[in-house]
Structure formats: structure tokens, C-alpha cells
């Protein structure tokens, strides 16, 4: 049985304190009654109340969610297709260019992606708004999806698909009846990743949106540039809370699934031995 040595315990404690203390402080001070954010003046939830009345924030939140849902869904479809092409399609004309275009957006600075897309939208005369943000977000997040899905496809036992063909499936049926249900967890994580990237994005949205559409990060940005604000603290707390609940739930679900599977496998082995 391994235990924590004092050195490891210290480095972990300090490390995680560094990672979490800023957020904890943020959360605590979001319940501060004072307008002066750095001076504690008693517990209050008034900033949450004010946030809920702030039409501009609510509108921005709605735009953000709309953009995130649409772009991550399209990105998941395109990214999964791209992953299949990368893992399965063998050689085709321009394969190097294709995989280059999949990987490049992952390392491309956001300012460049944003700038280049904006210049495209201006060039073709597309009005900037929700549509252009969706196009931009779909483009960079499909690359993340395809990386996630292709890493699952690489370890996918190809004989499962062959078995489906052997039993009379068309290639199309084989994909939807066998491959997709099995790689579904990777596709779902791809979607979640794309969704989060879209929710988070400030730079690309700033370049590609027009006056008609402001996303939440853009709204936060314009207000935090002026300094710390209690309303933003409250908003941050809500966002951190949602993410934390989501991640913890997801990890508990996957943990219990794995545990159940292991239990059942052990039971099956005992059964055959007995």
C-alpha cells in the first residue's frame, strides 16, 4: 500500500491550492455585499439578483448557448466524418493537406484564426452575426472533435465492423448499428469539448461577430477590462458551478459504469470456473 510522502503531500497541497484558491476567492467574494469588490462587507446575494435583471447579460448568454449548441453539433458530425477519413480511408489525393488542415487549427493562435475568418466573411459579403460565429466555431472545434474521435477509432476492433458486414449489413448500416454505438462515448466527449470551446471563446467570436450578436465572453471581456466587478464574480460563480457539477457527475457516472462492468466480468469468470 503506497502512502503520500511528506514531500509529495506538500507539493500536491500547494499545487492544488494554487489551482483552486483564485476560483474559491472569486466565489466567496461573489457573495460580498460591498460594491468595493476587495473589501468584505457581509454576506449578500444581491449581485446574483442584479445579474438576473441585466438584460444585456441574459441576451449574451442566450446567444452564446445558441451558438455553442449549433456549432458543437455540426462540428461533431463533421469532426466524426473527418476522423473516419483519417483513420480508415487510406490514401487519397490531398491526404496530407487534409490532415494538415485538421491539425493546424489546434496550434493556430486564435487571433490568426479570427482574423482570417473575418477577412473571408468580409470578402464574400456575409453579414456578421450569429451565423458567422457558428461557422467560425464549427471550423476550429471540428478539429478537436476529430482528434478525440480518431484516437478512439484507432483502437476500435475493425473485425466488429467486418462481422456486421458478414452478417448482412451494408457499410452504412454497419456504421450506424455497430460502430457509432460503440464509439458513442468518444463522440459525446467530442461534442462536450466543442461545446465548452465555443462557450469559452472570446477572441474568435470578437473577430467574427457583428453588432447584432454579442456572446457572453465578449460581454464579460468588455466589463472586466474596466476592472473587477461584483456582477462578473457572480456570473463566474454560476459558470464555475455548472462546469463543476457537470464534470463531477460525468466522472461519477463513468466510474460507476467501469466498476459495474468489472464486477460483472469477475462474476462471469467465477460462473465459468464454478
Amino acid at each position: 500500500m503506497r502512502r503520500f510522502s511528506w514531500f509529495n503531500a506538500t507539493s500536491l497541497t500547494l499545487g492544488f491550492a494554487f489551482l483552486y484558491l483564485p476560483m474559491v476567492i472569486l466565489i466567496i467574494y461573489s457573495f460580498n455585499a460591498s460594491k468595493l469588490v476587495t473589501v468584505w462587507a457581509g454576506f449578500s446575494t444581491k449581485w446574483y439578483g442584479e445579474l438576473m435583471q441585466n438584460e444585456a447579460f441574459l441576451d449574451a448568454a442566450w446567444v452564446t448557448i445558441k451558438v455553442a449548441v449549433i456549432s458543437s453539433t455540426i462540428a461533431t458530425a463533421l469532426g466524426t466524418m473527418a476522423a473516419i477519413v483519417m483513420v480508415r480511408s487510406g490514401r487519397f489525393l490531398g491526404r496530407t493537406l487534409f490532415s494538415g488542415m485538421i491539425y493546424a487549427p489546434l496550434v493556430m493562435p486564435e487571433v490568426i484564426t479570427g482574423l482570417s475568418l473575418l477577412l473571408l466573411f468580409i470578402g464574400i459579403g456575409l453579414d456578421r452575426g450569429v451565423l458567422t460565429i457558428v461557422l467560425a466555431h464549427t471550423t476550429f472545434s471540428m478539429c478537436y472533435v476529430s482528434v478525440v474521435v480518431s484516437s478512439r477509432l484507432v483502437s476500435f476492433d475493425q473485425s466488429l465492423e467486418e462481422a456486421a458486414l458478414d452478417l448482412g449489413c451494408s457499410p452504412f448500416q454497419a456504421f450506424f448499428l455497430v460502430t457509432l454505438p460503440i464509439i458513442a462515448p468518444a463522440v459525446i466527449s467530442g461534442w462536450l469539448l466543442a461545446f465548452t470551446l465555443s462557450l469559452d471563446d472570446l477572441v474568435i467570436a470578437s473577430f467574427t461577430s457583428g453588432p447584432s450578436a454579442t456572446t457572453l465572453p465578449m460581454k464579460i471581456w468588455s466589463s472586466v477590462r474596466l476592472g473587477v466587478s461584483p456582477e462578473i464574480n457572480a456570473l463566474s460563480t454560476i459558470m464555475i458551478g455548472i462546469v463543476t457539477i457537470g464534470v463531477i457527475t460525468a466522472s461519477l457516472v463513468s466510474k460507476s459504469t467501469v466498476a459495474r462492468q468489472q464486477r460483472e466480468e469477475r462474476a462471469a469468470e467465477r460462473l465459468s470456473a464454478g
Binding site: 509529495n8 500536491l12 483564485p22 472569486l26 477519413v85 493556430m108 493562435p109 486564435e110 482574423l115 472586466v224
Partner: protein
């Protein structure tokens, strides 16, 4: 046929929304600003055929790039970006390695939780994580309050709006990218190797130095690239935490574009930034390739 559609749909999407925009950037970087708004000369007149193409080509020039070299703001910004990225990568490594090491040596039942704790911040908004430091580092912020109430300092430290704040912000936001590859390298490390080294006469420290560090080299390299590459083009951190003297190329590009509205120069800045990034990206790819081959 089916295969063709499967390839064509994502391919065309990427061509139209990734490659074409990039070519436009390149083109505009080589164009002259005409009152700094579109259209830019030269415009490509497709109906004029080959002659039109030749006119188009001859209209392109490197004026914007020459401008970049003449105004020392730009090359200072590039150098400063590289310097800030390199220094903060080193800090991230120094902070991240002990954490990754502690995680890898933690009891088995703790590891999934620790791993989740490292990944969790990644899912929360980048902007909020950077913002959270503004309240801590400002002149009347929590850090100064604490230090002054402890009597450690009498005058508030000025950290926010300096490069120091930028380093802190980068280390904080990019820490998971450093921890995860190092952790996965250390986790694979066979504990009996350390025992063997000690058995052969190494002290704990020299065993760490001679065995653990070299065997986690791949993770260290990967982590450093994962921090270094995106940091060069970083915009949010220098804008929120840095001061007016903090020069980073992402910020320069943004200002060139939104404040000065000089699109050709902004495009030229972008092109150079990409050229600078190509080298670390290729090195990173090579490292990954080597690691894959070693695993086979």
C-alpha cells in the same frame, strides 16, 4: 461514391473556412492599404484570365513586411513574446513537475480524483480563470491585503499590469497542459527502476536525477511545447493582466486590427507569427512521432 462524400464534406468545409481565409490573409498582407479599408489593390480579376493573374501578382509586394522591419515595435513584440513564452514555460515546468510527480506517486485510489482535479479547471472558462487573478493581484487586492495584515510589507506591491502578472497568469492557466503529459510519463515509470538504482548505490536524489528525470523527458518536452506554442500568440492574458509596457504579438495584432484598423499590417503580423510558430510545431510533432515509435 459513399467514400467520396465522406471525404468531400469535411474536406470542402476545411478548404473554404480554413485554407481560403488563410490565403486571403496572405494576399492582404501583400497588398497595399487603400485608405485602409476594402477593396485592396490589387484585386484578382478572374475574367481577365492569365493577364489578369499576372497583373495581380505584380501588384503584390512586401511593403507591409518591410514596414514591420522598419518599425521596431513589431520585432520587439515578437522577441518579447518569445521571451515571455520561454520564461513562463520554464516557470510552468518548475511548478508542474512536482505536482505531476506527487500525482504519479499518490496511492492508486487517489489518482483518478487528482487527475480530475487537474482537468477540471480546463473545462472552466479561460477568461474567468484569468480574471480571477485581477482581484488577487491588484494594488488593493487580496494578496496585498494579506501580506500587509501579516506585516510582511508596508507598501502594496505593484504586480497587476506588469510582466510578473502575465507570468503568473500563464503559469496558472497553462499548468494542466504541463502536468498531464509529465504525469502520464511518470505513471508508466516502473517503480522497480528506482529501487534498482538505489540498490546499485544511488542516493534518493541521484536516482531521481539519473533515472526519473531522463525517463520522463518525453513528457517534459511535450508539456513544454504545449505551453510554449499557444503562449506566443496569447492575447487575453497580456491584455487583462499585463500593462502598457507588456508587448506580446497577439495583443499587437488585435490592436493593429481593432484600434488602428490597419488590416494589411495586421495580416502581415499574422503571417510572421505563423512562420515563427512553424519551428516549435515541427519540433513538437517530431517529439510526438518519436514517442509513438518508442511505444510500438
Amino acid at each position: 461514391m459513399r467514400r467520396l462524400i465522406l471525404i468531400a464534406v469535411p474536406y470542402i468545409w476545411l478548404l473554404a473556412l480554413f485554407l481560403v481565409p488563410f490565403i486571403i490573409v496572405l494576399k492582404i498582407a501583400l497588398s497595399d492599404a487603400w485608405l485602409a479599408i476594402p477593396p485592396y489593390v490589387p484585386t484578382l480579376d478572374i475574367s481577365a484570365g492569365w493577364a489578369g493573374f499576372k497583373d495581380f501578382l505584380s501588384g503584390l509586394d512586401f511593403e507591409n513586411f518591410i514596414f514591420l522591419t522598419e518599425d521596431d515595435l513589431y520585432w520587439k513584440a515578437y522577441l518579447s513574446s518569445l521571451k515571455i513564452a520561454a520564461i513562463s514555460t520554464l516557470f510552468t515546468l518548475l511548478v508542474g513537475y512536482p505536482i505531476a510527480y506527487g500525482m504519479a506517486k499518490a496511492p492508486d485510489e487517489w489518482r483518478p480524483t487528482l487527475l480530475m482535479l487537474v482537468i477540471l479547471p480546463f473545462w472552466t472558462s479561460f477568461l474567468i480563470r484569468v480574471y480571477s487573478w485581477m482581484g488577487i493581484l491588484s494594488q488593493e487586492g487580496y494578496l496585498n491585503q494579506t501580506l500587509m495584515s501579516l506585516g510582511l510589507i508596508s507598501e502594496p506591491l505593484i504586480i497587476l499590469n506588469t510582466n510578473a502578472a502575465v507570468y503568473i497568469g500563464i503559469v496558472y492557466t497553462y499548468l494542466p497542459f504541463m502536468i498531464l503529459p509529465i504525469y502520464s510519463a511518470l505513471e508508466k515509470l516502473d517503480a522497480s527502476l528506482i529501487e534498482a538504482a538505489e540498490d546499485l548505490g544511488c542516493s534518493r536524489l541521484s536516482a531521481f536525477w539519473l533515472v526519473t528525470i531522463p525517463l520522463s523527458k518525453q513528457g517534459i518536452i511535450a508539456g513544454c511545447f504545449l505551453v510554449f506554442i499557444p503562449t506566443i500568440g496569447e492575447f487575453v492574458i497580456p491584455s487583462l493582466l499585463g500593462g502598457s509596457q507588456t508587448l506580446m504579438i497577439g495583443k499587437v495584432l488585435w490592436e493593429e486590427f481593432f484600434s488602428n484598423r490597419d488590416w494589411p499590417v495586421a495580416s502581415a503580423v499574422a503571417v510572421i507569427l505563423l512562420l515563427i510558430l512553424v519551428i516549435p510545431i515541427i519540433l513538437f510533432q517530431r517529439n510526438e512521432q518519436k514517442q509513438r515509435e518508442a511505444n510500438e
